[in-house]
């Protein structure tokens, strides 16, 4: 294992991106305000100085053009990394993503290696258009890989893997974790294979299956409750590590699926359905979900807190299932 340094989740993203750009001249970034400004969250701060305006391209305010141009560039052998200023704006590039990028290889045998970086998630009064977690849209769009790191090491490792992957990858970076999460990250090249969940905490009584911000909530709840809780960090949502999910469910017999995204047809539904279908005989209790209800994410702190799952909600949900 290479030397590791303690960096934030945000720095880990930057580092991973910078490293891949240094390593591979075909990697380029395209997005709004990512050049001189360094990006809305400063992920590409200093990049234009190092790599030039050609590889760190300030795009016009046109998300379909950004993603469509990336498809074209990818077809031509480049490896574009698109930045949506907020994940929410993917609605404006949705068509190119789900129809052009996602289906290209299946239809035409043409690989389009590209990454769409999606600063997602809420918890800081971003309101209905700067707080969304759109991952389930992508899972209902065959041909897209989807990752959602929870730790600094995975932020770097999954970004590296996403850039190297020959497919379009939606990379969800949770804004709430940018500066809140710090961790050891291998200093050199660091790749985390897409499709492998991470056992964030071992336990025998209850599996909390989650990703992104949910991982931290689950770990905190488990520590606070001091119970024999297992926390599985999915990391990859597509491909989904069904083996790891089922192994954990079978071991503990009780499953709570948790995420920040809204409930209906979310990733939690998919995981719960998987467990209910494949681990049914090992279940000792209902499969429960802890998610945001089906509402737009409100702006005002008390409203937002009422909508997004909180630590107390997580503890309560764990307690209920443990007591079942």
């Amino acid at each position: 294992m290479s030397a590791a340094t303690e960096v934030t989740y945000l720095e880990a993203i930057s580092d991973g991106l910078r490293q891949e750009m240094r390593r591979d001249p075909s990697v380029l970034c395209i997005g709004e305000d990512i050049g001189a400004f360094g990006g809305a969250f400063k992920v590409t701060d200093g990049f234009i100085e190092e790599f030039g305006a050609g590889r760190v391209m300030d795009a016009p305010l046109a998300e379909n053009a950004i993603i469509g141009a990336a498809v074209g560039a990818a077809a031509e052998g480049l490896r574009p990394v698109c930045e949506m200023q907020f994940a929410d704006f993917i609605s404006c590039g949705f068509d190119q993503l789900v129809n052009v990028a996602a289906k290209m290889h299946y239809r035409q045998g043409l690989a389009v290696p590209m990454v769409v970086r999606l600063p997602s998630g809420g918890g800081f009064s971003g309101g209905p258009f700067h707080s969304q977690n759109p991952e389930a849209w992508f899972l209902q769009s065959p041909g897209l890989k989807v990752v959602a790191p929870a730790t600094a090491a995975d932020a770097k490792g999954l970004l590296t893997a996403a850039i190297r992957d020959p497919n379009p990858v939606c990379y969800l970076e949770h804004k709430g974790l940018y500066r809140y999460v710090k961790g050891e990250v291998p200093a050199g090249e660091h790749e985390v294979a897409l499709g492998e969940a991470r056992l964030a905490r071992e336990g025998g009584e209850l599996s909390v299956i989650t990703y992104g911000s949910g991982v931290h909530l689950a770990l905190e709840a488990a520590a606070d409750l001091d119970e024999d809780i297992e926390v599985l960090d999915l990391r990859s949502l597509c491909p989904l590590d069904t083996e790891a999910i089922l192994a954990s469910a079978r071991k503990t017999g009780k499953v709570l699926v948790a995420h920040e995204a809204t409930q209906s047809c979310g990733v939690g539904a998919e995981v719960a359905a998987l467990v209910a279908a494949e681990a049914f005989e090992d279940l000792d209790g209902p499969v429960r979900r802890l998610t945001a209800p089906d509402v737009p994410i409100p702006f005002s702190p008390p409203l937002e807190q009422a909508v997004l799952p909180q630590l107390d909600d997580m503890k309560e949900a764990c307690r209920e299932l443990l007591a079942y």
Partner: protein
């Protein structure tokens, strides 16, 4: 809201002399040239100053609240662009409709939103226009004929177009007005809206605020040719004006609204201006050449208009000063009201995702006395 109301009332006395029909053929003005509208009386001019000052004061007050940690999330303002939202909205009638954008607080005030509700909205209070559901300027008071903006730019352009469509279908002499920035013109929805409006000659006024940047992205990276040129290719006029000249904005808007009302279709008005603050409070504007600030400071729309009121319109310097001071005091009062507003009840967080019944848009305030005196239009009480 005392100061403004008083002024509006007195404007009614002077309206008789300028009930001309709208001048459809007024030539476009070059940016920089000073405009002087014959459709404004003394009270209107005081109002224009007042609303611009109110926007400035309210946003300054909000910045303080933001710095005090009373505003969650981010903060955005329209410092330096006050003439645009004030001058354009001032030309509309009560039954006209608006979709107001993030640099356009002045238009909300002209329509009748009071600063307390703006400040409360930014603070996420129950007394804010959205009651804490949405923040920033993501609001529209439906009782005042406004549909609140969404973040995605320029999504309100198709929406305003749809309102204009309904006016045309029902044969109503009404106008929809919306705003967007220079950056937003690169987006596909901009094109779809303008094209659609052009095909059907819909009564919609598109106000482009070209403040030189989209966030940090300068004009050169947004378009190769000034978007005002595109209006003609959508089949309607595009006018380039000085966005820091409130009377120029008013005049262009008045003419555009009159043309729209008479079936002449849309207009694209490009207002050249400069955003004097960062895109948001966190933005240090390192991407802006310092000489741009100097240049544009000298063209501050409020100071400049105050000077003109004195030089050309018989206002005394004291009078101008008093208007600005009164507004400031009023905004301070409003801030107290806003601060006294409670946070929304978390138990209501999931209410209202769906409507149970219809809630039609109401009519906006329309302080321009031209409207106030029209017998067919009921002037709303402030």
């Amino acid at each position: 809201m005392e100061p403004v109301n008083g002024a509006v009332a007195s404007a009614r006395d002077e309206v008789g002399d300028r009930r001309e029909s709208a001048d459809r053929d007024a030539p476009g003005r070059e940016a920089g040239e000073v405009a002087r509208s014959t459709f404004l009386n003394r009270a209107d001019r005081a109002n224009l100053l007042r609303y611009m000052a109110m926007m400035r004061s309210a946003e300054e007050r909000a910045i303080t609240l933001y710095r005090q940690g009373k505003i969650p999330g981010s903060f955005y303002d329209g410092a330096g662009q006050e003439a645009i939202s004030v001058g354009s909205s001032y030309a509309l009638g009560p039954r006209d409709r608006m979709c107001i954008l993030h640099r356009d607080l002045g238009a909300h005030f002209v329509r009748g939103v009071t600063p307390d509700r703006y400040l409360a909205n930014y603070m996420g209070r129950a007394g804010g226009v959205t009651g804490g559901r949405d923040g920033n300027l993501h609001f529209g008071d439906r009782e005042l004929g406004c549909v609140g903006m969404v973040s995605m730019l320029p999504d309100m352009a198709p929406v305003a177009t749809g309102m204009a469509l309904s006016f045309k279908l029902r044969g109503e002499p009404r106008v929809a007005m919306t705003y967007f920035g220079d950056g937003s013109t690169a987006n596909g929805q901009w094109h779809e809206a303008l094209n659609f409006a052009g095909v059907h000659l819909l009564p919609v006024v598109f106000v482009l605020e070209n403040n030189g940047f989209a966030y940090s992205t300068p004009n050169e990276l947004e378009f190769a040719v000034d978007p005002v040129e595109r209006a003609a290719t959508y089949g309607f006029p595009g006018e380039l004006i000085d966005g820091n000249d409130v009377e120029a904005v008013f005049e262009a808007s008045r003419i555009a609204a009159a043309r729209a009302r008479e079936g002449g279709g849309p207009t694209l008005i490009e207002c050249r201006t400069m955003r004097m603050h960062g895109h948001g409070a966190h933005d240090d504007m390192r991407y802006v050449p310092p000489e741009m600030f100097e240049e544009w400071s000298a063209r501050d729309p409020i100071d400049r208009y105050g000077e003109r009121l004195v030089a050309e319109h018989g206002f005394s310097a004291d009078e101008v000063e008093r208007i600005r001071a009164e507004v400031k005091a009023y905004v301070d009062e409003c801030a107290q009201t806003a601060l006294a507003s409670p946070m929304p009840d978390p138990a209501t967080a999931t209410d209202g995702v769906f409507a149970d019944d219809l809630t039609p848009l109401g009519d906006g305030k329309a302080p321009w006395s031209y409207w106030a005196e029209r017998p067919d239009v009921e002037r709303s009480a402030a």
